[in-house]
């Protein structure tokens, strides 16, 4: 298309425009921002600790590998092999190298899809049906697991929150927001955590105050049920919740508690956990 590639402007004007408008717009400004981001991340130490940065490292290693693998042949063919051939440059050789390098975008997509969550997201975007179905399933699963996730993440270690995988960040933070809303109801949240720490009892939940109402007890029982269901301890008593009322539920669990060793868990009072959560700003 030679008719598209020529115009009447002076070459000097074109050069000035190229270097002071075109190059900054298409390369220098984005490149400056990327370099600034890298420097800022390194300077402020925002990179996850060693062992927790594996996902990020693998993701970028894939992209860098693809970039080198796809563009190195083009550079060699264009600037080394083709000029070395005597006579006029071979257009087919140049075309081969250029075509190979420009497939880099497609190869990057394929390689990125080796990561399961990226593949699921891409497939979900391309297939709207799957996307909607997945959203419904996610919502249902989230309702069942957020409380469990909350109890896991809060009852294990003080520093666990800072060591969360980046992929789990969203789920964990959602559970934090639920935890915050529970905390507003004077100890209900701490009761749930205590109930989880006792691993199948409601002793801690009751120790947070004798004035716990049925609603509180019911909430704690439901959380314990969810935990037990996920741990596989609740499957044998499938009709458990249909038979017993919340108060009967407490009595039944207390009876089971006598056969379990919960000394370590019951030493930590709900008040301590509540104070700890307040310190963490949750």
């Amino acid at each position: 298309m030679p008719h598209l590639l020529t115009n009447s402007y002076k070459t000097d004007d074109s050069t000035w425009f190229f270097w002071f408008a075109f190059v900054p717009l298409f390369m220098l400004i984005p490149l400056a921002y990327v370099l600034w981001s890298c420097g800022n991340i390194l300077y402020k130490g925002m990179v996850p600790p060693v062992g927790r940065r594996r996902n990020l490292a693998l993701y970028f290693f894939r992209l860098i590998f693809v970039f080198v693998f796809m563009w190195l042949p083009f550079i060699v063919i264009t600037f080394v092999v083709n000029p070395a051939i005597a006579g006029p440059q071979n257009p087919w050789l140049l075309w081969t190298g250029a075509a190979w390098s420009h497939l880099q975008g497609l190869v990057s997509v394929i390689v990125s899809c080796t990561k399961e969550d990226i593949k699921n997201c891409l497939v979900g975007t391309l297939t709207c049906d799957h996307c909607l179905k997945r959203r419904r399933e996610d919502n249902r699963r989230q309702r069942n697991t957020t409380i469990t996730h909350m109890t896991h993440s809060n009852a294990t270690d003080d520093h666990e929150n800072s060591n969360l995988e980046e992929d789990d960040n969203l789920a964990a933070i959602r559970s934090y927001s639920i935890m915050r809303s529970f905390n507003n109801f004077s100890g209900i949240g701490s009761s749930i955590i205590s109930a989880r720490r006792s691993s199948s009892s409601l002793t801690a939940a009751r120790s947070s105050g004798e004035q716990i109402q049925d609603v509180t007890a019911l909430t704690s029982i439901e959380s314990v049920r969810i935990v037990m269901e996920e741990d596989g301890d609740f499957q044998e008593d499938d009709d458990y919740k249909h038979k017993l009322s919340p108060k009967e539920d407490i009595a039944e669990v207390e009876k089971e508690e006598q056969n379990t060793d919960i000394a370590d868990d019951s030493n930590r009072s709900p008040l301590d956990i509540s104070d700890r959560l307040r310190e963490e700003g949750i």
Partner: protein
């Protein structure tokens, strides 16, 4: 597109670093941002390829390919290279 990805990664790491809540971009937002980026790239490619009135830019082909613009004045090219990168070094 690399700048957009860098922005999201920087945002995720910054918020995770302070134990904050990071909301990943939704599919809708990703789609809109991609559309903006590719529209921007299309405009730049059009400038480099087509003769657009009012823009003092002369595109060119390199070895039969027109995917990258080229500069025509080699002397001015060298001067601007030195000046531009000396000017941009303090920014980096």
């Amino acid at each position: 597109m690399n700048a957009v990805i860098a922005y999201q990664i920087h945002k995720m790491l910054r918020i995770s670093h302070i134990r904050g809540r990071y909301d990943p971009p939704t599919r809708k937002r990703v789609g809109i941002e991609s559309l903006v980026v590719y529209s921007y790239a299309f405009v730049l490619a059009a400038i480099a390829t087509w003769h657009i009135p009012g823009i003092p830019f002369k595109g060119g082909d390199y070895g039969g390919l027109a995917c990258f613009p080229k500069s025509y004045n080699s002397e001015l090219f060298l001067v601007l290279c030195v000046f531009l990168y000396c000017f941009l070094c303090p920014i980096f």
